[in-house]
């Protein structure tokens, strides 16, 4: 079972090391006879993959930091402040979280076209923030409502303001949940394709998935450079998953059980 997961990825890596002459071997050869890094250098400079990687990092990092900050504040408020319409707001957020990309991209595209935001970082970051906020709020609200209120109450007794309590009592406890939410948000932005393709199709602003998807032309698909770029793109995410697997999985499981 695990082999089925790993196998295709190994195939991707192996293929990325094959020179162009071996790409068309049929039956396919298991290992490259003359392993080479030419696909990597071609992807990096000829296909300008570094540009797409930088764009993705900018867009995803800004989105993640903003969303987690805004989402933590809102999640705390919904869990603790006994607001009147908390339930209605949660349901509205949930409704927005399930709206498919195609329903959002058409109106967002038309508005961004009018205000001149097409092919820009903000054109992608702003919708990404809005789309990822609901899930982040949901995760953090559930987390905060499971924390026992004693420490918080003690802070109030000691005369701390609600804002100060959130910052110095709750945020340190919520750090793992915020991290998990952050990885979820980053991943969601990193692999988002439809909105990115629609809004930032100019080469200067393409993100990784759009860049890779547009390597090919109508007649040829340069699999060598595509897989070289893909390998560079997926290594950081695989590393994060492997290093932080405990935090991520416990966060995920808590979410699954709660849901």
């Amino acid at each position: 079972m695990l082999l089925v997961v790993i196998g295709p990825l190994l195939w991707l890596f192996i293929t990325s090391l094959k020179p162009e002459s071996e790409m068309g071997n049929y039956p396919p050869t298991l290992l490259p006879q003359h392993p080479t890094l030419q696909n990597y250098s071609q992807a990096w400079s000829y296909y300008r993959f570094w540009r797409y990687l930088v764009n993705s990092l900018i867009v995803c990092t800004v989105t993640t930091l903003t969303t987690v900050a805004v989402g933590t504040a809102a999640g705390y408020a919904l869990a603790r402040s006994r607001l009147k319409h908390a339930r209605a707001i949660m349901i509205a957020f949930l409704g927005i979280a399930v709206t498919p990309g195609i329903a959002l991209i058409v109106p967002i595209y038309m508005l961004e076209r009018d205000i001149g935001w097409l092919n820009s970082y903000e054109g992608l970051i702003v919708p990404y923030i809005a789309i990822t906020i609901p899930l982040t709020v949901w995760i953090l609200r559930n987390f905060f409502s499971r924390i026992a209120p004693e420490m918080e109450e003690q802070a109030y007794v000691d005369g701390a303001t609600p804002l100060r309590t959130l910052w110095s009592v709750m945020v340190p406890q919520a750090a793992p949940a915020m991290f998990t939410a952050g990885v979820f948000v980053f991943n969601a932005c990193y692999l988002e394709f439809l909105i990115s393709l629609s809004i930032n199709s100019a080469p200067t602003y393409r993100t990784v998935p759009v860049g890779i998807a547009l390597f090919g032309t109508e007649y040829t698909v340069p699999y060598g450079p595509i897989f070289a770029a893909s390998f560079i793109a997926i290594v950081p995410m695989i590393a994060i998953v492997m290093i932080f697997r405990k935090t991520l999985v416990s966060g995920l499981m808590a979410g699954a059980v709660k849901g």
Partner: protein, 331 residues
């Protein structure tokens, strides 16, 4: 969504009752009156919530309302700007009467209806196997998380290469088995199969993790009681495991249903909607009408009806999965 959970709010103990009475003669901080504190907390709460609500409202709700207006309007592009004309129902009329939209609706709904139960069943099988692994489960779980963290476009490119008619690895394997050259994605059923396989590789491992989380939450005593009663493996699965897994399985089903209705990345790369538009999903159609045909009116009609359909399916699924919640199998 757990209804009860939504309504539970932590009731803070009144601050005053926690304050230790100050010994006479020492200066003590007067504890803030609980009424004042509650008000202050509500005010801060609203301030903390405001950014999230404002961002989502302005960036998402406003465009959706705008799209509703556009969808009922004659839209034209003059001097590169979108111009709204007279009110009309023609956008919806054009979409609903087009056989292409009808096909895509059928394909999207059919694909979701078939792929989601199969994927969840596969995830259940994988989770049941994983449950018994003690050593190295952490590593197995991390490996299952990998496809979730891989860009869908890359997954689709990879499987496109594996299914390539000229030098794909699976093409070669299938050709050996069949005894003649096979081009998987050239036929409609083959193209759907290729999309499904790609979809499974990307999503089933994550689903398996959700189900595994549910499995590990089941009280071990229930299994022991079943063993004492002499229940067999199959019976235990049917009367304990599956009912107890209801929450996790519902979550997996809803999560996949939503994604399946938004199917875009995989067919965009793998089949381009082909052969002859047979694997075109509603999202793919919306994208094509919007960005290739530049027909903004019909495009908004397609995108809004797709959104509405997903919302409807979501509400129905939540209802269905919740209503049968009681376990009448007994034990």
């Amino acid at each position: 969504v757990n209804k009860q959970d939504l309504e539970t709010s932590q009731v803070p103990a009144p601050a005053a009752s926690l304050a230790v009475p100050a010994p006479a003669g020492t200066a003590s901080q007067p504890a803030p009156s609980s009424d004042g504190l509650a008000k202050r907390r509500a005010r801060t709460g609203r301030a903390l919530l405001a950014p999230a609500v404002i961002i989502v409202g302005v960036v998402l709700l406003f465009p959706i309302v705008y799209a509703v207006v556009v969808s009922f309007t004659q839209v034209s592009i003059t001097n590169g700007r979108i111009a709204l004309g007279a009110r009309t129902l023609s956008n919806y009329h054009i979409v609903f009467t087009s056989s292409r939209w009808q096909h895509d609706l059928l394909f999207t709904v059919g694909y979701a209806a078939v792929s989601v139960p199969v994927e969840v069943a596969m995830a259940l099988g994988a989770a049941l196997l994983l449950q018994h692994i003690r050593r190295g489960r952490g590593m197995a779980v991390a490996i299952l998380l990998i496809p979730w963290a891989i860009i869908t476009v890359i997954v689709a490119e990879l499987w496109e290469y594996i299914f390539d008619p000229n030098y794909g690895a699976l093409t070669w394997l299938f050709s050996q088995i069949a005894g003649h050259p096979v081009d998987v994605v050239a036929s409609t059923s083959g193209a759907i199969f290729a999309i499904f396989i790609t979809d499974c590789w990307k999503n089933v491992p994550f689903l398996a993790l959700i189900v595994l989380a549910g499995l590990l939450m089941i009280d071990f005593d229930l299994y022991e009681a079943a063993a004492v009663d002499g229940a067999g493996r199959w019976q235990t699965l049917r009367s304990i495991t599956l009912p107890q897994l209801r929450g996790a399985l519902s979550l997996a089903v809803i999560f996949r249903l939503l994604a399946a209705f938004g199917l875009f990345d995989i067919p965009f790369i793998l089949t381009g909607g082909g052969p002859s538009l047979s694997t075109e999903s509603l999202s793919l159609l919306g994208y094509t009408v919007m960005f290739q045909d530049l027909k903004f009116g019909p495009a908004t009609a397609i995108s809004l009806t797709t959104g509405l359909l997903v919302l409807l399916v979501c509400v129905v699924a939540v209802r269905l999965l919740r209503s049968g919640g009681t376990n009448d199998l007994g034990i």
